[in-house]
């Protein structure tokens, strides 16, 4: 049961296609796990359609366009693109398909130790436009000491769970924190490591991005 959802403003940005790199993958990964947010997104897309349908029409050469299109109506549909190889490894389902597009098979991930004895991490995308994404695994029962953030950090739990001052986060839950947040995490002590997809912005982000990022943490 997902308790922590995507901010509405981020869903709107996703619907509008204005999210910065790496964030759409996190959003689509959450959407795979969350029927509630899929419902909200469908509603927002419908609202957009409703608003746009009210624009005053602009005439053009529609007879030519129609004639050309009528010629194409019988074209066979292109085969759907197959993005994913067959996954036989039982553990793969931990990574929803949108994320697997980025990671490839989990056996090929180049993990590196993170803080000693606490867990490991693998960089997924570089700091494209000031935003980087990382897959992190923290061992069960460990504590991630109090830490701050350079910019914004969006975390999606893929397995296991953790607790901080805001509450408990389990599979599918999203936490969005800004630079002012200092928190420590207590990883669930149930034997399962906590797998996290984390998207971080640099301390400095392009100017156009600032307002959007602020809107996700309600800091507008």
């Amino acid at each position: 049961m997902i308790r922590h959802h995507l901010p509405d403003t981020m869903l709107l940005d996703h619907a509008a296609g204005t999210l910065p790199p790496a964030v759409p993958t996190l959003v689509a990964t959450h959407l795979t796990l969350c029927p509630t947010c899929r419902g909200m997104l469908a509603v927002l897309e419908g609202l957009a359609g409703q608003m746009l349908a009210g624009l005053p029409p602009v005439d053009g050469d529609d007879e030519a366009g129609l004639a050309a299109l009528l010629e194409r109506l019988d074209e066979p549909e292109p085969e759907p693109t197959v993005l994913l190889p067959a996954w036989n490894d039982g553990g793969e389902f931990l990574l929803p398909a949108p994320l697997r597009r980025l990671t490839g098979p989990s056996a090929n991930l180049q993990w590196r130790p993170s803080a000693p004895g606490i867990g490991r991490r693998v960089a997924l995308t570089e700091e494209l436009g000031g935003i980087a994404s990382t897959l992190e695994e923290v061992w069960a029962g460990k504590e991630v000491p109090n830490h701050g953030h350079r910019g914004i950090e969006i975390t999606l739990v893929l397995a296991g769970g953790y607790t901080d001052e805001q509450g408990h986060y389990g599979r599918g839950d999203v936490q969005v924190v800004g630079p002012e947040t200092v928190h420590g995490l207590q990883i669930d002590d149930d034997g399962e490591p906590c797998l996290l997809l984390s998207v971080r912005s640099a301390a400095r982000v392009p100017h156009g991005l600032k307002a959007r990022i602020a809107s996700w943490i309600g800091a507008i």
Binding site: D8, T9, L12, D13, H14, A16, G17, T18, P21, P24, T25, A28, L31, T32, L33, C34, P35, R38, G39, M40, A42, V43, E45, G46, L47, A48, G49, Q50, M51, L52, A53, L55, P56, P57, V58, D59, G60, D62, G65, L66, L69, L70, R72, L73, E77, L83, L84, W87, E92, F93, L94, L95, P96, A97, P98, G172, G208, A211, S215, I220
Partner: protein
């Protein structure tokens, strides 16, 4: 739309003539006047309508709204360098909506209608900000300049509008 799903080309032509000028208005606005791309996207959109007419559900949205949603998604996917990843129902990780009453889809449709009605009752200034900053894809600073109001005003109007819609969604 039922006629089109049945392969009625006359009905399709009528829909095309009706919607193409309105789609053009939106696509020209979003592409900042790119007429070639606009005509291509009108064609692509209506082709999708032809192929997918049988999946249109009148309980969920007006036909026009449905077509505009297709056009918008086409436009966004065209201009983005990376296509937007989307959830895949065949993904083993995909979590379907909980199965509840058989009239679940009616319930969703009712909520969507309520929300659309709520949108109509938003103050005009909030609707304008919502439309321009999100659905037309303008930066909030550009919207502020255009409307001649401070950036903070644009932000607070967008926030108020979102709160109202979210409240409506949670209440229903």
């Amino acid at each position: 739309m039922i006629l089109i799903a049945d392969g009625d080309r006359v009905a399709f032509a009528a829909l095309y003539r009706n919607l193409a000028p309105r789609l053009r208005a939106f696509l020209l606005l979003r592409s900042r006047g790119n007429a070639t791309q606009t005509d291509e996207l009108i064609q692509e959109t209506l082709l999708v309508v032809w192929k997918r007419a049988s999946t249109y559900d009148p309980a969920k949205a007006a036909a026009t709204t449905w077509v505009f949603t297709i056009a918008r998604n086409r436009f966004i996917d065209r201009v983005r360098k990376e296509s937007r990843p989307a959830p895949d129902e065949t993904d083993p990780a995909f979590v379907p909506a909980a199965e509840t009453a058989p009239d679940d889809s009616l319930e969703l449709a009712r909520r969507a209608r309520k929300l659309h009605a709520a949108l109509e009752t938003l103050p005009q200034e909030q609707r304008d900000v919502l439309r321009e900053s999100y659905f037309e894809g303008k930066a909030q600073s550009a919207v502020a300049t255009e409307l001649g109001v401070p950036l903070g005003t644009v932000k607070s109007r967008a926030r108020l509008a979102m709160h109202r819609l979210r409240a409506e969604l949670e209440e229903s």
